[in-house]
Symmetry: C2
Subunit: 112 residues, 2 copies
């Protein structure tokens, strides 16, 4: 996932930008995170994900979805909702979620 960024898709598509600061209480977080990756991969219209984490600082996860329907499915998934609830109770100090429709995009990869 971190060898290269997710590519530019043909617009329109959606991004879910999730920015987080975590608490010191991370019991169960890695397992739940792995399970969420497994689940989101099963959503029709899910295109991929980028993640970066500054040690001790901000984490950013960007999920890419083909359409609003795919996002709704993911947002309303029961296991995902339970994980969100636990996240607010234990794992996140603060977070922001921005849901946005991509109007244009492009990518670059070195030739050499």
């Amino acid at each position: 996932m971190s060898d290269h960024p997710v590519e530019a898709f043909e617009p329109p598509y959606y991004v879910a930008v999730f920015t987080t600061i975590r608490t010191g209480e991370q019991d169960g977080y890695p397992e739940t995170n792995a399970r969420m990756e497994e689940l989101v991969n099963q959503i029709p219209g899910y295109l991929g994900m980028d993640h970066a984490q500054t040690p001790g600082g901000l984490g950013i996860t960007v999920g890419y979805f083909r359409d609003a329907e795919a996002l709704t499915r993911w947002r309303t998934d029961e296991e995902h909702r339970a994980a969100q609830q636990r996240g607010r109770a234990e794992w996140y100090q603060s977070y922001t979620l921005h849901i946005a429709k991509v109007e244009r995009s492009h990518g670059f990869t070195r030739a050499d």
Copy 2:
């Protein structure tokens, strides 16, 4: 910038999601990066920025802008264009840029 994520603004607004893998050649990058932060802060309609960097891995920068005009000003800034060109020549192995209009957003901060 990394004490807490940028807040949720009132939609609509724009996000510029810039995901990067850098090369081993980073001469001049920190100085240029600092200068770009200084410049973007002068763009009317610029709202803020989140950045996360996995050590040795993916970097994600998310810029927030009030409207398309603010993004156009930033995209066409001469000094910014020169920095982009140098980025492709030296600093970036690969990158993707997604420009998207935010339709909804929300935030969470712990009470305690």
